[in-house]
Symmetry: C3
Subunit: 211 residues, 3 copies
Amino acid sequence: MNLALTLHYLDLLGTVVFAITGLLAARRKQLDLFGAIVIAMVTAIGGGTLRDLIIDVPVFWTQDDLYIYVVVVTTLLFFFLARYKRLPVKMLLFLDALGLAVFTIIGTQKAMELGFSDPISIMTGIMTGVVGGMIRDVLVGEVPLVLRREIYATASFIGASAFLLLIEFGMDYETVVIVSILLTLAIRVLAIMAHIELPVFISYKAPLNSE
Amino acid sequence: MNLALTLHYLDLLGTVVFAITGLLAARRKQLDLFGAIVIAMVTAIGGGTLRDLIIDVPVFWTQDDLYIYVVVVTTLLFFFLARYKRLPVKMLLFLDALGLAVFTIIGTQKAMELGFSDPISIMTGIMTGVVGGMIRDVLVGEVPLVLRREIYATASFIGASAFLLLIEFGMDYETVVIVSILLTLAIRVLAIMAHIELPVFISYKAPLNSE
Amino acid sequence: MNLALTLHYLDLLGTVVFAITGLLAARRKQLDLFGAIVIAMVTAIGGGTLRDLIIDVPVFWTQDDLYIYVVVVTTLLFFFLARYKRLPVKMLLFLDALGLAVFTIIGTQKAMELGFSDPISIMTGIMTGVVGGMIRDVLVGEVPLVLRREIYATASFIGASAFLLLIEFGMDYETVVIVSILLTLAIRVLAIMAHIELPVFISYKAPLNSE
C-alpha cells in the first residue's frame, strides 16, 4: 500500500469518527436528522476546510464528492442504529481522540509538503485536529473539549512535532505517519484514562467576574 | 428582466432580510447601534463570505460597496423605526426563512456555474443559506435556529436539489430560480406554522450529561 | 524609522496584547497551559487571518514564524508570572482597547494599499480589530465584548475612517498611522472610563423570549 492511499484512507477514517462525535453531541441535544447532518458535517470537515483556506490550496471536499457522501451515510447509519443500540459512555472521547490524531498528522503533513516551516506546519496540524471539534462544541453550547483540563491540544502538538522530527531523522515516511498518529492517540487516551492534567493558572479563589 | 439582474436583486433582498433578523436578535439582547450593525453585518454577509472563500472566488462584498451600504442603511432605518413600531412576533422566523431560501439558491447556482459537482453545489447552497444565521445565533448566545427541531436545513437541502434537478430537466433558468426559492420558502414556512418536525434521536430519558 | 518597520512593530505589539487578553480570559476559566495557548493564539491571529483570507493575500503568520513564537513566548511568560503577580482589574479592557486600535488601523491600511474602496477598507479594518476578541469570548462562553454596551466597534469605525480621511488630506503617512491608533484607543478608553454608551433599542419591558 503506498503512502498517498494510506493517507487517503486515514483521512476518510478521521472523517467518519469526527462525524460520529458530532452525532453523539447532536443526540445529547435531541437534534433532528438534518440538524445532526449539519453538526456531523462541520465537525468532520471544519478543521480541514480552515487548513486548506489558510495554506491556500483548493478546499479538499470541493475536489472529491466522497467526503460529503461519507458524512451523510455515516449520519444515516448512525441515526437509525442509535435507536437499537446504545454506544458506551466514553465513546465520544475515544473517537474524538482518534479523529484528533489522524487529522493532526494529515494537516501537518500537508503543510510540510507545501514547504511551510516547521512551526507553521505544526500550527496547521493542530488547527486541522482541533477546529472541527471546537465548532461542534460551540454550536451545541458547550465549552470546547480542547479548552477543558485534560491534555488535548498538547497531544496534538506532541504528535505534530514527533512527525516532523522523525521525518528529519530519515525514518520511512509511511511508518512516521502511523507512529505519530498512534503516539498522539496514546497520549490523549492516557490523559483521558488517568485524568492527567497540565498545570492551570493559580486560582485566587476570587469570584469569577472580579477581573 | 434578465437573469443576472434578477439574481442581483434577490441577493440584495436576502441581504436586507438577513440583516433585519440580525437586528431583531440585537434588539432582544439590547445591543447598541454599532453592536447591532456588527450582528446585522455578519448575519447578512457571513454565509456568502464563507461560500466565496471555499469556492475560491473574490468575496462578493469586496467587489461591490453596495452590500455594506445596504446593511448599514437597513440598520439605521430599522433602529429608529423600531422605536415607533413593533414588528409582529413571528417576523424573525419568516424573514429568516426568506433569507434562507434566497441565499440557498444563489449559493447553489454560483457553485454550479463554476463547474462544481451536484453534491458540492448543494453543500455550498446550504452553507450560504445557514451560516450567517448560525453565527448570529452563536454570537447572541442562543442555540442556532438551524439546530432546533423544525425543518430548516432540510428546506435548504430540498430547495438546492430541486434547483439542480429542474435545470437538468431543461426548464427556463430564471423560472427555476424563482420556483426553487418559493419551494424552499414554502417548506420552511409550512414547517414553522405546522410545527412539522423530522424524527429525532430516541431519548433514553437519561440525564443530559450521562454520555 | 520607516513606515513598514513601524507597522511591523505595531503588529507585534497588537499580537502581544491580544494574546494577553486571551490569557486573562483563559485564567478566569482556569484553563491549562495548552488551552491557554489555543485561546491566546486565536485571539491574537484570528482577526488578521480572516482579513487576509477575505482580501485574498497569503495569511500573514504563514509567511513569518515570528507571530507564532511571539504568542507562545507571551503565554509562557504570562503563565508563570501570573503565579506571582496579579494584574490590575481593568487590564483586560485596556489591553483589548490597544489591540483593537492597532489591528483596526493595520487592517484598514492593508486593504487600502491593495486598492480596495474606502467602505471596504473600513470593514476590513473593523474586522481585523474585533474578530479575534469575538472568537475568544465565544470560546470561553461569554457575550462578546464588541456586543456589550460601551462604544467598541464604534471606536474601531471612527479610527478607520479617520485614517482614510487624514491620508486623503495628504498628511504624512506615518503620522497618520500613529494619530489614528491613538484616536481609536482614546475613544475606547474614554468610553470604558466614562461608561459612555450609544443609544440602544427601546425596551418594551417585554420578557426576553416574547419576540
